[in-house]
């Protein structure tokens, strides 16, 4: 099944053309005549904000969705009805964002599912051959040694990613489509992935690469297609144009507006921690959060920063120290008691404890704070509606109506709904755990603006983030944790991401990167995971 067609395709000719693709979900137009043309043997980037239609376009190419209109041709073959099987026969393989691997399978089973080697004519699984080939391909491409019997559920996200890429490579693909492949990878693994993709390009393989990280697109891709609101708004060569050009195409707006400035005077303390400790997580943390203040907090995984935030919501048991809210000494043994003390937590894993997909946008947004909309035990629809409208407007959520089920929204918009759910309760202290992770640039700006507004209304905000530029952009002060202790306090006005990073990693000689946020974040994670 090795590249039957590629001989007839000259380098530079389009190997994949999607023309005028239209797709509507429950009244929302996800794609509105989008085009994608990918040259043979090139690495083609596909960028756009969440909700721009990238995922829909890719799912149509994968045969999961049928387009309402438009034509697709793959390797010169005009394809009317794409099914996942047919797409695979045509040599198009996908590395999905969700890492589509069966958790109860072994590495070898997951890699060979759908194309299992038999023992001669007998339809029995040749497990030995599967394990041998799986091990060989993992060694050859990634220099990874995974025990053959390891279950997918026991692997780290990076290892699962590698298994998925190996799965595609096993099938001699002609076109590989990567959908946000680096989201779970650390720096070194990203470098290795790029090296592999470039090596595959040299062998004539075509790659479609979808990513939020524009620095990756810039260093890897030969061409980039930019999607906005379901249409392609540009096809450019990233080598000859700058990242900001891509960003302004994506947003239809300049990058300077990224971090909305607010001028809020910081008020009296709302939260005081005195020598707070939790076993195995953090030791003797003292800090003060004021009204109207956005206090940034960062640290590597394992620095205790995340646990600190969780402990303030009663999710981590404390060992010692005191908490003062307002001027009262208090204890927060459980989330309900935290809510009672007017604390709100926006958890990082919003998708998991996030939305009820079949419920409407309105129901999802007001679910966490129904008490606010009730009078004499009955819900007041008018107030619910008004609040929902406001949140939809504030966060620019793309939805057909308040009553559309959340499952009809794009992934990015679903995330915004979850965020809105937590923000719709009015609290005195907001604990935000990576509020913009996995959110595109445009939605980030909206979230920053919303955080600013909360501060303006007098709330104290503890913002835990590993996005250093984000912290420098919107926080009033930044605290850095290292190995369970506060390692430094920074004034965003005269600090750089390099300062924060060297503090967080416990080094002072660290080089940091560039002005884009991805590498900084990456290096941190990378240091943490492998250091």
């Amino acid at each position: 099944m090795i590249n039957h067609f590629s001989a007839t395709q000259a380098k530079g000719d389009p190997v994949l053309t999607m023309h005028g693709i239209v797709k509507t979900f429950g009244g929302v137009r996800a794609l509105d005549g989008a085009n994608l043309e990918v040259d043979t043997g090139s690495i083609h980037g596909l960028v756009g904000q969440n909700g721009a239609g990238k995922s829909t376009l890719i799912k149509i190419l994968a045969g999961f969705h049928r387009p309402d209109a438009g034509s697709i041709s793959i390797r010169g073959m005009h394809c009317q009805h794409l099914t996942p099987r047919r797409v695979e026969h045509l040599g198009v393989h996908f590395i999905h964002q969700d890492r589509l691997l069966v958790p109860t399978f072994t590495v070898a089973e997951a890699m060979f599912l759908g194309a299992e080697p038999g023992i001669g004519p007998i339809p029995l699984l040749n497990r030995r051959e599967m394990a041998r080939q799986a091990t060989a391909i993992l060694r050859y491409h990634f220099d990874v040694r995974l025990p053959g019997g390891a279950l997918i559920s026991e692997l780290t996200p990076a290892e699962r990613q590698i298994v998925q890429i190996s799965r595609a490579l096993l099938r001699d693909p002609a076109i590989l489509v990567f959908d946000e492949p680096t989201a779970a990878l650390v720096r070194q693994e990203v470098d290795r992935l790029f090296e592999i993709i470039r090596r595959l390009r040299a062998k004539g393989l075509t790659t479609v690469y979808i990513s939020h990280y524009l620095s990756e697109i810039e260093s890897l891709c030969d061409q980039v297609t930019v999607l906005r609101n379901g249409v392609d708004v540009g096809r450019i060569n990233p080598k000859s144009s700058s990242t900001s050009e891509i960003v302004s195409l994506m947003l239809n707006r300049d990058i300077e507006e990224m971090f909305p400035k607010k001028a809020v005077s910081v008020g009296e303390p709302v939260l005081k921690l005195n020598k707070l400790s939790a076993r195995g997580a953090f030791i003797e943390i003292s800090l003060t959060l004021h009204r109207g203040e956005i206090l940034g907090l960062t640290g590597l995984l394992g620095s205790g920063a995340k646990e600190l935030v969780k402990s303030l919501f009663g999710l981590v048991r404390l060992q010692g120290g005191t908490i003062e809210i307002g001027s009262d000494r208090t204890e927060i043994p459980s989330p309900p008691s935290a809510v009672a003390k007017k604390l709100a937590l926006v958890p990082e894993d919003r998708r998991a404890h996030g939305v009820a997909l079949q419920m409407s946008v309105r129901e999802n947004m007001t679910l966490a704070s129904l008490g606010r909309f009730a009078r004499f035990g009955f819900l007041q629809l008018s107030r619910e509606k008004a609040t929902t409208n406001e949140l939809i407007r504030k966060l620019s959520i793309r939805t057909a109506s308040q009553t559309s089920p959340v499952r009809d929204l794009s992934g990015g918009n679903q995330q915004k709904v979850v965020l809105a759910k937590w923000l719709s309760r009015q609290s005195a202290i907001y604990l935000l755990d990576e509020p913009t992770v996995g959110v595109d640039v445009g939605a980030k700006v909206e979230i920053y603006r919303l955080i600013g507004e909360l501060a303006e209304q007098g709330a104290g905000i503890l913002l835990l983030s590993s996005d250093l530029l984000e912290l420098l952009g919107i926080a009033d002060r930044i605290l850095v944790m290292y190995r369970g202790q506060l390692a430094g306090e920074f004034d965003p006005g005269n600090s750089t991401s390099a300062d924060l990073l060297s503090c967080a990693t416990g080094t002072s000689t660290l080089r940091t990167g560039t002005e884009t946020m991805a590498p900084a974040q990456r290096t941190m994670l990378g240091k943490d995971r492998l250091g």
Partner: protein, 329 residues
């Protein structure tokens, strides 16, 4: 280029499943051990083959349920389940007995019996896959349909049946061991090979384990789910033939077996390292329940306890597996 770390999670997750499996096997061993001491003759060849013979029907039904659970996924509410399987046995047994009664030869009777099971499986498949009804509800209604038809054609009476095939099935095979005992092991062996050692089986697990992953791998998910119900339907009618052989006729009240079937299929999960339903795990749990009932009889414990104990075992299996799964995620 240093090799990427090859850790397997944080170790605890693995131990959870392994401990559960080891604990279950030890529990099985302790129960057997207790009865071996308390009831002389419990471990005699005669008694063991007796348990195998008595477990054959439950075993075959349990295998059918297991296949449906494999393809339907582990979610107890939305996952795969075939509630019609026990009443399928009742209806298929009635069909078999009636056809023999009106003078049809074994071949014809057997053929129509298996067709009955296949038809019931097909009905489940259509309800679940084509119409998209929740399996719990779909198979519940099919269960009622089977029960209704059985009442109509038997008038709620026991139909006596005898034939050369039944005589062979009810008799003893080589070494004086009951034919049904052999059949249980043969069916188990065939299904273990098909489900656990073929690409077909692997895909069945993929469909139940992570539907989207199976789809992305080009597996026709709907076809596999439909097939699982059809296989389950056929298991129901095979169970019917064994039941007619064992009881020399059809019998009323086959629906009472349902709880045992569900219990053994769910309990089978704790015998697998990956906490998934397996044919071998279900065989073990069927034998476990068989030995338990047999032990009760030999030690003069009232058989009224059996239902309660089965309920407890379901609770144990579901609670522990979901607990371990929660720790894993």
């Amino acid at each position: 280029m240093e090799p990427v770390a090859t850790s397997g999670g944080d170790g605890f997750q693995v131990n959870g499943a392994v401990l559960l499996r080891a604990g279950s096997l030890i529990g099985f061993g302790l129960v057997i051990g207790y009865f071996a001491l308390a009831a002389p003759g419990f471990l005699s060849v005669g008694n063991i083959t007796n348990v195998l013979e008595q477990s054959a029907i439950l075993g075959v039904l349990s295998f059918g349920m297991t296949i449906v659970m494999i393809a339907g996924g582990s979610n107890v509410v939305t996952g795969g389940i075939d509630l019609s399987i026990a009443n399928n046995l009742g209806l298929s047994a009635a069909v078999y007995a009636i056809l023999l009664k009106i003078g049809q030869p074994d071949v014809v009777a057997l053929g129509f019996t298996l067709l009955t099971g296949l038809g019931i499986g097909l009905l489940n498949a259509i309800a679940v896959v084509a119409i998209g009804i929740l399996p719990l509800i779909a198979t519940l209604t099919v269960m009622n349909i089977c029960a209704g038809f059985e009442l109509v054609i038997t008038q709620n009476t026991v139909l006596q049946a005898s034939s050369p095939l039944l005589a062979v099935l009810a008799g003893d095979g080589p070494f004086g061991i009951a034919t049904l005992a052999y059949l249980l092991l043969i069916v188990a062996l065939v299904l273990i090979v098909v489900i656990q050692y073929t690409p077909f089986g692997l895909r069945l697990y993929a469909v139940g384990g992570f539907r989207e992953a199976a789809l992305a791998a080009g597996v026709s998910v709907d076809w596999y789910i439909a097939t699982s119900y059809i296989l389950s339907g056929i298991c129901g009618s095979i169970g019917a033939v064994l039941s007619v052989a064992l009881l020399s006729g059809s019998s009323t009240g086959s629906g009472d077996m349902l709880l045992s079937v569900v219990a053994t299929a769910l309990l089978g999960v704790v015998f697998s390292r990956r906490l998934v339903p397996t044919i071998s795990g279900s065989l073990l749990s069927v034998l476990f329940i068989g030995f338990l009932i047999n032990g009760f009889q030999l030690t003069n414990i009232s058989s009224y306890w059996v239902n309660g104990v089965e309920g407890l075992l379901i609770l144990f299996a579901v609670a522990t597996t979901s607990l371990v799964r929660r720790i894993e995620t």
